[in-house]
Amino acid sequence: MHLRKLVWREMFERKNQLATSFLAILLGIAVVVSIKNITFYSEKAVARQLDALGANVLVLPKSVSLEDYYSADMQNDEFPEEYVQRLALSDLQGLDNLSPKLSVPVKLKDRGFTLTGILPKSEFQAKAMWAGAGIFSRPAEGCGTVADVPGAFRPEAKETLVRQRVIEDLSDAEVLIGADVAAILGTKEGDGLDVLGRTFTVTAVLPQTGTVDDSRIFAHLHAVQELAGKGPVINAIEIVGCCKEISGGLVQKINKLLPDAKVVTVTQVVDTQVKTNGMMARLSLIFLAIIVLVGGASIANYMYANVFERRREIGTLMALGAGSAVILKMFLLKALLLGLAGGIGGYVLGTVLAVALGPRLAGIPVLPMPVLVLWAIGISVAIALAASYLPARRAARLDPCATLQEM
């Protein structure tokens, strides 16, 4: 005989009375696990879509409008390249990807194109570069931080590979050209291309995107600065910012940091995402409050009834020499087992619900998240222990004489 066995036997003996409390905590945890699971994958899916859309925050010279930027992103106004360092070295949270650019108009075979200077990694893998440099701190999770999610939407692999390989190796003498440029000039990979008096090697022809990028020639930022004779300046910084931080005033903070620049955001996309995420977060909180109240009240009620029903048994144990600590442990261990069972069961049920309903409700594939089992057990055990503490203390403080009425 040991305490666990005593508790387990009692629970098993009175399992019908226990069932209501168990069901309350099980269903509560299942619903919250389910919401959290679907929300996680929903956020990831939207984040991927946002990532595919590109930057959601733009830093532009004061005189330039967002419309100008999207139509051609060619302006005469510039600002110092040092602004990028200022952003990178700041303690701003939620900046996920910084891409400084300098665009200048060029004429090739009498056709106008845009020569865009980029910092190779910063154009496509800026976040890796900044994070790797260790000078940029970001929250671990953000709408712009896109981790690989098995089964979730993923950009076309070939395109990503081509871009990443080429951009990694982009040097001062290399260019990437858009699909329209290649078609109009009849240029292909490996050909030479004269731009503003310098001959570049075309290292890649980018796939058709249907955007202004198709008529761009991408070269190294510093090469473009030199050819344009403009010194260390840029005319745009594209930023993939985290939606939460954007709604929390990121734009204003960047504005404060760079008072001579104009900071704009693609508010519509961000707002939708923030609203969806906010709604799911609120829903999750509401259900959490419900399980704390309903589950907790149900367990507390059951425990009080259990103490009352077992008062003679408690008195007997005390007469046999059990101290108050043993009685307290006996009830808290029971609460712990109830919480564990509710947490594990709730996780399993919630995960099944999320995987089954996720595609129907949110239109996204949902996979089990093992990390939620710890969360589910933690919450469930905490609720069970908190709800049982007062009844357990009452049991431990029972007057053994009053419980042994026949004596």
């Binding site: 005989m1 040991h2 305490l3 066995k5 005593l6 036997r9 009692e10 098993f12 003996e13 009175r14 003679r312 048994e313 008195g315 007997t316 144990l317 005390m318 007469a319 046999l320 020499g321 059990a322 101290g323 108050s324 600590a325 043993v326 053994p400 004489c401 042994l404 026949e406 004596m407």
Partner: protein, 222 residues
């Protein structure tokens, strides 16, 4: 065991009730005392006070020279576990545990290893004639068998003192005799037995009888 001018009063529905009134008593080690008296005379209160379960309003209770109620509640629980065994009229077995597990409870409370608990509990149940009922739960046992399990449980921690409250009150005469035989046997082993009873035949098995009348003790017979 010694009671010195012990009184116990409590409020019952707004009226002060005196269960023990200036009771003084000395019970030597190895004694077998029957406590008799009409209902409500304070017999059960006396037993609870002796067992460290109910603190007196005034007066002191000594066990082996130590004042029982100067100890903390947990220290008194320790004392009960080591030295005192209770036998209840309704046996108070834990209904969801087997006979063996019921007898193991005091051994588990004493922190003994499970194998030793099982070995000792089995021996005790065999001693009270229930070696073939180890895995039976209380509802599966007869009334007499249940009381024998309770007696085996009392003996588990080898107590010096056994306090029995109407141990034969719920039993038929034959089974009652068996229980009294077992109590007498425990007394012969050197244990002190204090038994509250209404039954004159049971009281006759004791070495001496105390009569309680309105909370006052009057020695009657030897």
């Amino acid at each position: 065991m010694r009671l010195e001018a012990v009184s116990k009063s409590y409020l019952h529905r707004g009226r002060m009730v005196t269960a023990l009134d200036d009771a003084s008593l000395e019970i030597a080690a190895g004694d077998f005392v029957a406590v008799v008296g009409p209902s409500g005379s304070g017999k059960s209160t006396l037993l609870l006070v002796l067992g460290g379960m109910l603190s007196p309003s005034t007066g002191q209770v000594f066990l082996n020279g130590r004042s029982l109620y100067d100890l903390s509640p947990n220290a008194r629980a320790d004392m009960r576990r080591k030295k005192i065994g209770f036998v209840f009229q309704t046996f108070n077995l834990v209904p969801y545990l087997t006979a063996l597990e019921n007898v193991q409870i005091p051994l588990f409370l004493a922190g003994l290893d499970e194998a030793i608990q099982e070995q000792r509990a089995t021996a005790l149940l065999e001693r009270v004639g229930l070696g073939d009922r180890l895995d039976h739960k209380p509802p599966e046992l007869s009334i007499g068998q249940q009381q024998r399990v309770a007696l085996a449980r009392v003996l588990a921690n080898d107590p010096e003192i056994i306090l029995a409250d109407e141990p034969t009150g719920n039993l038929d005469p034959e089974t009652g005799q068996q229980i009294l035989d077992l109590l007498a046997e425990m007394n012969r082993e050197g244990r002190t037995v204090v038994m509250v009873t209404h039954d004159p035949r049971a009281a006759a098995r004791a070495k001496r009888t105390l009569r309680l009348q309105a909370g006052r003790i009057t020695p009657t017979t030897n």
